[in-house]
Structures are given as C-alpha cells and as structure tokens.
C-alpha cells in the first residue's frame, strides 16, 4: 500500500473546520451529526457483538459452559435489544443517511439542522437509560418484552423500555427531517425520478419511522404503566390480555424490519450501478417496490403470532399478505441482477458486499416463504430456523449493505482509502464465518431445536458447536475490518473526489466535503445512473 504522508486533505473540509470538541458537540452540520451517530452506533454494534460471541461460547458445549441460565437469558436479551434498537434501526438512516442524503440531493444540509442535532442527543440520552439498565440487573425478557413475563420478572425492565422509548423519538425526528428534506431541498432539475435510489429507500423508511414508531412508544408506555401502576391492560387477572401486547408490539416491529432493510436495499442499488458502471435496471420498479413494501409492511404483523391462538381466518389473511410483501423484494433482486448484465464490472470491497448481500439476502428472503406457509411455520416458529432466517435478512441483508456502504463512502467521508487487500481478507472471514454460524441454525431449527435455550439435548451438540466456531471466524473478520478502516483514517492514501467513477452528486465535491458540501453551487446536468451518456472516469 502506498502511504503518502506528505499529501494533505483538501481544505476547508468538514472534519477540520471548525476545530475543537465544542464545535462537534454543538454542530449543525449533517455530516458531523452523521459521524457522531456512526461512532455511537459502532460502539453499540461492538457491545452487541461481544454479547453474541458470549452467547455462542455458552452454547459451544452441552451444560453450563461459561455462564448460568439467568446470565444467559440476560445476554440474549441484551444482544437482541442492542442490535435492534441501538444499532440496526439507526445504522443506515441516522448514520449513513445523515452524512450522505443532503449531499446526494445537492443541498447544504437537512431541512431542520437543529432538530437533527436534537435527535442525536435524544438517541444518546435513550442509550444511557439502556446502559443504566445493564448495570442494574439488566433484563431477561427477550428483546420482544412479551407480557406477562416482562411484567412479572425482576430486573431493570423499566429503564430498558424507557431507553427504547426515548430512542424511538430520535428515529421519528430523523424520519420527519428526511421527508421534508427530500420534498423541499432537491437541486433544481432533480425530479423525483432523477433521485438516487438510496434516497427513495430513505424516503420509504422515513414514512415507516414516522407512522410506526409512535405505536412502539405507546406500547412501551403501557408496559411501564403496567409494571409501575398495575393498570391491568395486559394482566389477565384484571381482565387484560397479554396477547394484546404482542399485537401492539409487532404492529411496530414488523414494519421496523423494513426500517432496517429498505435503506440497505437503497445502498445496494447505488453500488450495483456504480461498480457495474451501468444504468440501473428498472429504476421505477425499485422505487415503487420500496413504497409498496412500506405500505404492506403494516399489514403482516400477525405472522409473528401464528401459534398464539389467533383465528384461522386471521392467520389466512396474514399468511397471504406475507407472501405479497415478499414479491417486491424478489423484483428488486432481479433488477439488480439485470443491472450487472452488459456492465463493466469491478470488484472492489463494496462490490464484494453486493455479492454477499445477493447471496445471503436471497437465502433470508426465500426462508421467509417457509415461515409464511402456515403449517410449516407451526413447526418452525420459535426454533433456530427463525433465528437463522432473521439473521440472514438482518445481518446478511442490512448489515452487508451497511458494510458495503461504509466501504463505498469511507473515502468520501475521510478523504483516504483503506487497504483493498485487507478488505478482502475481512470479507472472506465474514462471509465464511456468517454462513458457518447461521446456516447450521436452519438445520437445528428444522430438527426441532427451540430458540432462547440455555441448554440443549445431546443430539444438537455437534451443530451448536460448529455454529459457535463459525461465530469466532465471523468475529475475527470484524476485528480485521476495524483495524484497516481506522488505519485508513490516519494513514490511508488520498482518495480523490471520485475514486469509483460514480455519477451521483456526492462524488462531485471534494473528499472530505467542505462544511457547506459544495464549494461552488452544484448544477444538475445528468441523472444518477447515466453511464450510457456521460463519460465518467475514476480520479486518482
């Protein structure tokens, strides 16, 4: 790797002007706020990841390996709650979206910069409650907080739910901010169908964030009131219904699955086009399928509850709608494939993650079909099959897209390039480790291994052991990645404005961009994917 210590980043850039901690903590610059989100999110990703490895170590062998059943129950709860609420939901919109959305629209900032900063503080405030909960007995309810377990168990359930409740507001504010920004601050000439598809993904996501998150907030408040005042809404002894909680919870949390995946699909759309240097196939189909998914996502919550005693007809409708929401995702996949056709493809790290995404997300999506089919779901519900399925969707889908996005925009954010060779090493470790860990779990699940089990019968030991070893490989991949990405910030060679030869607006400004994003007002001269008419080459 050619390290060029003499070369300096372009000035002024948002990283260094103005200087000082205070200028960061009080910044209104969307890029800085996005970066602060990124740091916080990566911190929680690391904590959640450590919990994950501890869980797998406990399951390495039969019996108690490194922790008691009660500790184990706290571990998987914290792993889930942190990964969902503190990492994956804000990861792409609040971190990557915040940094890139205004630049990609050719705007100077989001519509409400102060609100944007407030949302970061709200997120941090909420996460402090979560940390307080961890230090005071934590929670053993599972990240789903099902009643009546969650209303009767010991531990710091209230501070954890309060934390999640507060974080929800940061999500709502970010969504609101993005909707207004997309409507109002597009560069003149950038019509709706000339927007990059990442923006469409963020737009669909923002709609869900604004509409669904309040339902989570209400649900959590009811849970807190139930625990503190005993209002009885979920308490059978007072005429309440614990299953009602599940309805409320999934009415948010199913759409939340799409809060996680839609922006990831947006990143994939960007990277597919850039690294095959080709017009994206089926622009409108991809854009509209995001909106279609956002709409349908509100109508399928009951598929988490097929064994809860719901009526056969409710089950029928939820099953049907579940299949319908799968179709748009399939269409997107075919569109990405067709984009590769007759492209001019290169294989830098972001493209490797596109491939990982296509491979893993396809498995994640297809295994969803098993779970949507009623009688098959009866067998597979609450087994490791479900655990494997949602890790293929969430981690194989969203996280792969997120990692791809990190590698794609890292040179833009820091102005410096990471080591491509080390990126490949990390990619191989992550791809292999992921499949070792989670593919095994499909088999565990179909064979009848229930989830959230501290211990298991001897027949499952081999597969559990293999899955645990896989998680170590996976973890090693992330450690390698952390090293070369951080190294790149300080020592990487200069990236130049447009290292990938891309057409979206963020590549037309310097890397890192100046505080106001563009030194000269940008002009909209071509669409985001006009690789058939605009001759663009890589800088460097």
């Amino acid at each position: 790797m050619s390290v060029n210590k003499e070369s300096f980043l372009p000035e002024p850039n948002f990283l260094t002007s103005p200087k000082g901690l205070k200028s960061w903590l009080l910044t209104l610059d969307h890029k800085r706020i996005g970066l602060m989100y990124l740091f916080a999110i990566m911190f929680f990703f690391m904590i959640g990841g450590i919990f994950a490895v501890l869980i797998r170590l406990e399951l390495l062998q039969i019996g108690e390996t490194i922790m008691s059943a009660d500790t184990y129950n706290r571990m998987f709860t914290l792993h889930g709650a942190i990964m969902i609420f503190l990492f994956i939901i804000p990861a792409i919109p609040a971190a990557m979206g915040n940094i890139m959305l205004p630049i990609m629209l050719g705007a100077k900032d989001v519509a409400f910069p102060r609100l944007n900063l407030a949302s970061w503080y709200i997120y941090i405030g909420g996460s402090l409650f979560a940390i307080y909960s961890m230090a005071h007995g934590a929670v053993d309810t599972g990240w789903t907080f099902y009643t009546p377990y969650s209303t009767s168990t010991n531990g710091a359930v209230i501070s954890m739910t309060l934390g999640v409740f507060i974080i929800g507001f940061s999500s709502i504010l970010t969504g609101l901010n993005f909707i207004v920004t997309i409507h109002k601050l597009r560069l003149p000439g950038m019509t709706w169908f000339k927007m990059p598809l990442f923006i469409w993904g963020l737009y669909a996501t923002a709609i869900i964030q604004v509409l669904a998150t309040p339902v989570l907030a209400i649900t959590l408040i009811l849970l807190i009131l139930e625990r503190t005042l005993g209002i009885g809404i979920f308490d059978p002894a007072m005429g309440g219904d614990p299953v009602l909680f599940q309805h409320f919870f999934w009415f948010y949390s199913h759409p939340a699955v799409y809060i996680m995946i839609l922006p990831g699909m947006g990143i994939i759309s960007e990277m597919v086009a850039v690294f095959s240097h080709k017009r994206i196939f089926g622009y409108k189909a991809i854009a509209f399928s995001s909106l279609g998914i956002a709409f349908l996502s509100f109508l399928v919550w009951g598929h988490h509850m097929f064994t809860s005693g719901q009526s056969e007809y409710a089950a029928m409708i939820f099953s049907f709608l579940t299949f319908m929401v799968g179709i748009p995702s399939g269409i997107k996949t075919f569109n990405w494939l067709a984009t590769l056709f007759r492209g001019s493809i290169t294989f830098e790290a972001p493209m490797l993650y596109v491939f990982a995404f296509l491979f893993l997300f396809t498995i994640g999506g297809l295994t969803g079909i098993f779970l949507g089919a009623l009688p098959v779901d009866i067998h597979l519900h609450d087994t490791y099959f479900v655990v494997a399925h949602f890790h293929y969707v969430m981690m194989g889908g969203t996280v792969m897209a997120f990692l791809g996005g990190i590698h794609y925009w890292w040179p833009k954010i820091w102005g410096r390039m990471y080591s491509e060779a080390w990126a490949r090493v990390a990619w191989v470790l992550i791809f292999v480790g992921f499949n070792m860990t989670f593919f095994t779990q499909f088999l565990l699940g179909t064979k009848g291994m229930p989830r959230r089990y501290f211990d298991y019968l001897p027949q499952f030991e081999g597969m559990h052991g293999f899955s645990s070893v896989g998680s170590l490989v996976l973890g090693a991949g992330f450690i390698v990645m952390a090293f070369y990405l951080i190294h790149a910030i300080f020592k990487g060679r200069l990236a130049g404005d447009n290292p990938w030869g891309a057409l979206t607006l963020e590549w037309q400004t310097s890397s890192p961009p100046p505080p106001e994003n563009f030194l000269k007002d940008p002009v909209f001269t071509h669409g985001p994917y006009d690789y058939d008419t605009v001759d663009v080459q890589r800088t460097v």
């Binding site: 377990y149 493809i345 009866i378 989830r451 959230r452």
Partner: protein, 317 residues
Amino acid sequence: MDSTATLWMPPAQSTIAGEVDALFYFIFYVAMGFFFLVVLAALYFLIRYRRKGNEVGLTDGHDHNFKLELIWTIIPTILVFIVFIWGFRTYLKMNVAPKGAIEIKVTGQKWFWSFDYPNGAVTLSELVVPAGRPVKLLLSSRDVIHSFYVPDFRIKMDALPNRYTMLWFEAKNVGTYNLYCAEYCGTGHSTMLGKVKVLSVSDYEKWLANAGAEKDAEVPLPELGKKVYTGKACMTCHTIDGTPSVGPTFKNVFGHTVELSDGTTITIDENYIRESVLKPQAKVVKGFAPVMPTFQGLLSNREIDGIIAYIKTLSEQ
C-alpha cells in the same frame, strides 16, 4: 435412527407430519431453484462482464424490458399462491379436530407441564396417549406464556394464562417423543422438557384405568420418591448433587437447619417437607425466589411420603 426422518426434518410420527413435510420440501426445492438461479446468474455476469483494463467507456443504456419484468413478477406470484393455498388447506386440517377425539387438559407452568385425563388421572411432564386415535389438547398456563411443541408431530401451540387454546394430533406409532416449551419463559425454559409416551390402544386403556389408583402401593417408599423426583418435575428446580439450582438442593438437607427469608431458622423434618410441597410459599428459604408451585392435588399422600423418604436417603445421618 428413525426411518421416517429426512435430511431436514425430524421423524414424522403424527398423521399430519407427512403433509407438512411435503409442503416443506416443495418450498425447499422451489427455493433452491431460485437461489441457484440468482447466485449462478450473478456469478456468470460478474465474470462475463468484468472490466478489462482501467479505462471505461459508455455502457449499454437499456434499463427496462417489459416482458422480462412481467415474467419475473408473475412466476413468483403464481408460486407463492400455490404455497399459500396448499398451506392454508393443511393448516385447516391441523386446526379442526375430528369428532370423538380424546380430550386432555394441558397446563403449562414454570417449568413443567401437567396433564389432566378424562377420568381424573393426572400426570406431570409426561403425556400418555394411544397410537392411532385423535387426541385433542386444551391448553392453558398458570403463569407466563409457554408453548407446547412436539417436533416429531409437527405441532406447536401457545399456552396462555387467560384463554384456552386448542391443538390436536394423532400419533402413528408406539414410542416416546420429546416435548419442548417453545415460548421463552425464564430460568428453566430450556429444562422445561417433557415426553409424549405413545402406547397401543389396549395398553393405554389399561394404563388409564390404573393411573388414578394407588398402583404404586407395592413400590418401596424411597424408590417411589425417586420416581416422583424425576417424573413430577422436582428435578427441573432441585438437584441431588449439592449444587443449588432454581431451588435448594436435596442433598444433605434432612435434619439440617435452614434459614428462611424472614430471618428465622427451621430444622428440615418430615412436616416441613410436607408443607414445602403443599404450601411452598408458607416458608421460603432465604436466597431463593418464591417460585415453587404448589403440588396440592398433584401428589398423593403416599407420593409425599416417598419424597420424604427419598430426601432422607440423600442425607448422611
């Protein structure tokens, strides 16, 4: 290895299991088809259209093809329609119990199952049913939500604290099958294991006729106590090797004193054990949560005598 097991599925031991597996494998092969289509197409394009050299020119601008898009929308839609209808039909069969099914009441609690049979007999952790007869289970829970799951029968249903849920199945063969709790329920969730014991119809009837009665009269007390310990769920919370679990161990406790949560101490004797079993909340051992359920009505007098005798054998005098 059970010959009804397949690569992906455990043994198929109920009448519905074969149908569930048929649908599973239909989806499986269709999914495999799509998966290889996507991955092989991706690999082929990635290799075939890789960039040669550093410069890049303009590329092909085609970005839609109505026929192609119609095909890749309609074919998956048709396939999921088939899966949906097939699934719903099988699901209805799974939900509508045939007339004349044997009805057994199932109660989940932390962390064992109890079963009430039509003639008043009760078993804990082990459900006994006849082969070749439909059995209908009426489920409920005494505390949090549990879920009754027998993989070999492909059945699962939540047991709720406020409402009855229903489940039915017909076991095909005599044998013993694993029963799990599939809804997370706390400390003992993974030890809330049970068995479904399938007998021939005549054996089942014989068993049922004797079940309520004192048929254990001939078994010596300590042995009976040991049977109660394993069969009536004491072992999910109590060990016999000296390590505390959810509850205190049974090793070396008889005749020893123990401190209660209100600070008083008491010597463990016959009456204390009896009270602990029938009214567990009356005296709670210090350092433990008051989670032991009452066994009032679940254990006969002789079984309680047995437990006392058994705990005595575990203590050095």
